[in-house]
Symmetry: C2
Subunit: 473 residues, 2 copies
C-alpha cells in the first residue's frame, strides 16, 4: 500500500510540476509586465530623497505576495532603516522549507547622461529589459515570485516557501542581518537560496562557493581654510587635491598590488578542489575584457583573472570630487576634497583590521598641511560556502533542466553581506546563485537583463522546488 501510495504521490507531484511549467510558459507576458512595474519604482536605498520609493517597493511586493496567498509583512527592524519584506507559504508542516533571499533596493542610477533610456522607465529591446535594478536584483526575485505563483496555481509546491527581501543590500544595512539573527529559531529552514547572483562571465550558470567581503571608506582631505587663488598662493599652499591624489595613487602599486601594510597577511590560497571548475586560462580574462570593453586587463601579477576576481583582494577608487569641475578653467586651490575607496576582501581578511591598517597608512602618507579623515561607510566579511550538498545538487540539476547546462562551482568577486548572517544564524545548506547574463551592467548605466534568463529562471526554480520536495517526500 505504502509503495503504491508513494508512487501515486510522486506522479501527482510530477504532474503538478508539469502543470506549473506549462502555466509559466503561458504567463510570460504577464510576468514581464509585472517585472517592468517593479522596475519603475526608483528604490535607491542610499539616497534620502528616495526613502518613500524604497518603502513603496516593499509594499508593492507585499501586495503581490498576498495576492498569491502568501502571508506577507513589511517589517521595520531598525529606526531609520529600510524595511524587511517577509512572505511565507506553508502548505505542509512536514515538508522542507526553502528560504529565498533577495533585495528590492537598487544602486543610484548615475551617471544619468550615459543611459540610453531613463533608468526607471524600463524598455525592452531585442530580448533584454533595460532599467536600474533589473539584474540586481529585481529580475531574480520577480522570477522567484512568478515561480511561487505558478507553483501555487498548480496545486502548491512540495516545499514550504519563505521570502526574505531586504531594502538595504546596496548600503550594507543592519535590518535583515539583525532580523535573521534575532529570529533564527522562527526562521529555521532546510535550504537557503541566496538569490542575488548571476551567471558566470563565461556564460555558465553558477553556484557560488565564496563571496568577497567589502570595506568601503570615504577619505576627506582638508588643506587651507578657504579656496585659494592658485597664483597668489601656489608654491606655498598645501593643496588637498594633490595630496589626496598622491595618497590614492600610493594605496596600490602600478602593477595592481595593494600597498596597505599587512593587507595580504591573512589571505589564503584556495585548495585545488575548490578551484576544479575555475577557468584559470586566459579565456576567462578575455571574456571579462570583452564585457568591460577595456583595452587591457589590469591586475595583480602572478594570478589568473579568475583568481584575481575571486581569491585575491583588491582596492578601487569609486569616486572623487574636489575643486572646480565645470567647463573651462578656474585657477583655484580648494580647501577640501573627498574620495570614496572600497576594498574587496577575501577569506580570512578582517575588515576591522584592514581599516585600522589603512588609517595608519593614510596618516603616514599625508603631507604637513593636509589633514585626512577616513570614514567607514560599510563593511562586510568574506564568506565561503559549501556547494556540495543536496540543495546545491538540486539547483544544478534544475539549471540543467531549464538551461541545458549544470551549474559551475565558482566564487564571485562580489559581496552579499547578509549571506554570512544566514550562514551563522540559520546554519542551513545554502545555495548562492542568480539569473542575469554576464555583462548585465549591474551598478552601471544601461543595466539590462535577458528576458530569456528571466523566464527560464522561473522554470529552473520550479524544478528546484519539486526536486527539494521530492527528496524530502
Amino acid at each position: 500500500m505504502r509503495t503504491t501510495r508513494g508512487r501515486v504521490l510522486v506522479e501527482s507531484r510530477l504532474m503538478s510540476l508539469e502543470r506549473a511549467l506549462e502555466l509559466a510558459r503561458g504567463g510570460r507576458a504577464a510576468a514581464e509586465s509585472e517585472l517592468l512595474e517593479e522596475l519603475r519604482i526608483p528604490s535607491v536605498s542610499t539616497l534620502p530623497e528616495h526613502r518613500a520609493d524604497v518603502r513603496r517597493n516593499a509594499e508593492w511586493l507585499a501586495e503581490r505576495f498576498r495576492s498569491l496567498g502568501l502571508e506577507a509583512a513589511v517589517i521595520d527592524v531598525v529606526e531609520g532603516g529600510h524595511s524587511v519584506l517577509r512572505a511565507d507559504w506553508c502548505g505542509d508542516g512536514r515538508a522542507p522549507w526553502l528560504t529565498i533571499y533577495g533585495h528590492y533596493d537598487v544602486q543610484p542610477p548615475d551617471p544619468l547622461e550615459e543611459w540610453r533610456t531613463p533608468p526607471f522607465e524600463p524598455v525592452v529591446r531585442e530580448g533584454f529589459v533595460y532599467a536600474r535594478g533589473c539584474s540586481d536584483n529585481k529580475g531574480n526575485h520577480l522570477a522567484a515570485l512568478q515561480a511561487a505563483r505558478y507553483a501555487l496555481a498548480a496545486g502548491g509546491p512540495p516545499v514550504n516557501l519563505r521570502f526574505l527581501l531586504e531594502g538595504e543590500e546596496e548600503i550594507t544595512g543592519p535590518s535583515l542581518p539583525g532580523y535573521v539573527r534575532e529570529h533564527a529559531t522562527a526562521l529555521a529552514t532546510d535550504f537557503v537560496l541566496i538569490w542575488d547572483g548571476s551567471f558566470a562571465a563565461d556564460g555558465r550558470p553558477q553556484l557560488v562557493t565564496g563571496l568577497r567581503g567589502l570595506l568601503y571608506v570615504e577619505l576627506e582631505a582638508s588643506g587651507p581654510a578657504l579656496d585659494l587663488h592658485s597664483g597668489a598662493f601656489g608654491g606655498n599652499a598645501p593643496n588637498p587635491l594633490n595630496t589626496l591624489a598622491r595618497i590614492l595613487g600610493e594605496l596600490k602599486d602600478r602593477e595592481g598590488r595593494v600597498t596597505v601594510p599587512g593587507f595580504y597577511d591573512a589571505v589564503r590560497t584556495p585548495d585545488p578542489a575548490q578551484m576544479a571548475d575555475w577557468d584559470l586560462g586566459p579565456a576567462y580574462g578575455e571574456s571579462l575584457r570583452r564585457i568591460m570593453g577595456a583595452r587591457a586587463l589590469e591586475g595583480e601579477p602572478g594570478y589568473s583573472p579568475a583568481e584575481r576576481n575571486w581569491a585575491r583582494p583588491t582596492l578601487d577608487v569609486n569616486g572623487i570630487v574636489g575643486g572646480f569641475t565645470g567647463e573651462g578653467k578656474k585657477t583655484v586651490i580648494p580647501a577640501r576634497c573627498r574620495a570614496k575607496v572600497s576594498m574587496r576582501l577575501v577569506p580570512e581578511q578582517d575588515p576591522e583590521a584592514i581599516l585600522a591598517a589603512l588609517r595608519a597608512y593614510v596618516a603616514e602618507l599625508t603631507t604637513p598641511g593636509v589633514e585626512i579623515s577616513v570614514r567607514l561607510l560599510g563593511a562586510a566579511r568574506p564568506v565561503l560556502v559549501d556547494a556540495d550538498h543536496a540543495g546545491a545538487r538540486a539547483l544544478s540539476a534544475a539549471y540543467e533542466a531549464a538551461f541545458g547546462r549544470p551549474a559551475a562551482r565558482l566564487r564571485t568577486g562580489g559581496t552579499i553581506p547578509v549571506a554570512l548572517d544566514f550562514q551563522e544564524a540559520l546554519g542551513a545548506p545554502m545555495m548562492i546563485s542568480g539569473l542575469p547574463q554576464p555583462g548585465a551592467g549591474a551598478h552601471g548605466p544601461n543595466e539590462h537583463l535577458s528576458l530569456d534568463h528571466f523566464h527560464r529562471g522561473t522554470e529552473a526554480l520550479l524544478h528546484l522546488m519539486w526536486s527539494l520536495g521530492q527528496r524530502a517526500g
Copy 2:
C-alpha cells in the same frame, strides 16, 4: 613770462587735484553704490550660461564712461569671444596718455555653499564689500572710473586717459591681446597701468616686477567602456580613477618639486637687485599661512616662501571629478574621470615646451588599460617688468600720498596674460599694481574688498594722474 605762466599752470593744476580729491572724499557713498551695482552682474566668462551677463557688464561700463564724457565703445574682436571695452578721453593732444587696463569678467563663484552671502548679491560688513569680483577686478577698475569722474569734474586731469577693460581675463581669451597687437599704433601711449594687482601679503602697496605664466590643462582618463560593478570586475578592471590619481600624485613629489622631466631647465634665479624689496625671511610665509588658514606651508625645499611664490614655478590640481560622488556608497569602477591641472611658470619657461614634456610624461605614467588625454585649456607666458621708470616712481609716490606707504617692488605669483601683449605691442613703461588688501579671497568664496582701499585707491589714482601730467608739463 614763461616761468610765471608755467608756475600759474602748475598752481592751477595742483588746485584742480585738490578739488578732485575733495570731490572724491565727498563722493564715497555714490562710488560704493556704483561698485555694488557692477558686482550684481554675474559676468562669469567661463560659463556659457552667463554670456549675456558678461555682455551686459560691458554695456554697463560703456554707459558709465559715456556719462562722464569719455568716448566709449564695446568692441567685438573675436567670433564667440567676449567684448573689449575701450573708453578714451583726450583733453590735450600734447598731454601724455595713461592707459589703464582691467577686466570686467569674474571667476565662477563655486563652491556656492561656502559663501556666507550670495556671490552676486554684494553686502557690506565691517568696512568690506563681499561679492565675486570685488577684488578681482571690479573694485580696481571702479576706483579708476571714480578717479576719472572726479578728475573730469575738477576740470580734467593733466593726462589723457584710455581704459581698456576686457571680458576674457579669467579664460585667457584672445580678444584684447589681438586688439592691442592689431591697433598698436592707434593705442600708442606714454604709460600703461595694469590695474589688476593687489597689495602684497605683508600689507604693502606693490609695484609688480614679474608675473608668473600659466599652463592650464585638463586630463581625461578612460578605462572600461562602461561603469562597472567593482565586485564583479575589481581585480581585473583598469580603473581610470586609480590611474589618474597615481599620475596626478606623481607630477609633483612629496616635498613639492614638480617631476615633469625638464620642467626646471629654463628657470633662472632673479638677480639680487630685483629681490631688494623681497621679504625672504619666515615672516612673509607666516603672513601667507595666516591668510590661507593652513596648518603648514607646503613648498619646494631650499627656497623662501616669497621665492616659491614669485620666482619658482609650481603645479596644482585645480579640480577633479569621477565615479560616484553622492552621499553614501556605490561600488562602481567608472568608465572615465577628469582633472584640471595648472602650472604657474616663471621666466624663461615656455608653456609650449612644458606642455609637450607633460604630455610625454603622462603617457609614460599611465597604465595599460587606461588612456589619458591632455587637453590645453589656456597658456600665458611669464613676464618681467621694469619698475624703475618715471611712471613707477609716480605711482609709488601716489601710494605714499594716499596710503602713507610707498610701493614695494615685488613679483607676484599670479598671471595677467595681457601684460605681455601690452609690453610687446605698445612698448610703453608699465606699472602693474592694484588695490585689494591681502587675503581678499580672489577666486574663492567670500571674496571681499576693503572699502578703505577702494576709496584711497581712487585718491592714489588722482595723485598719479596729476603727477604724470606734471612731469610732462
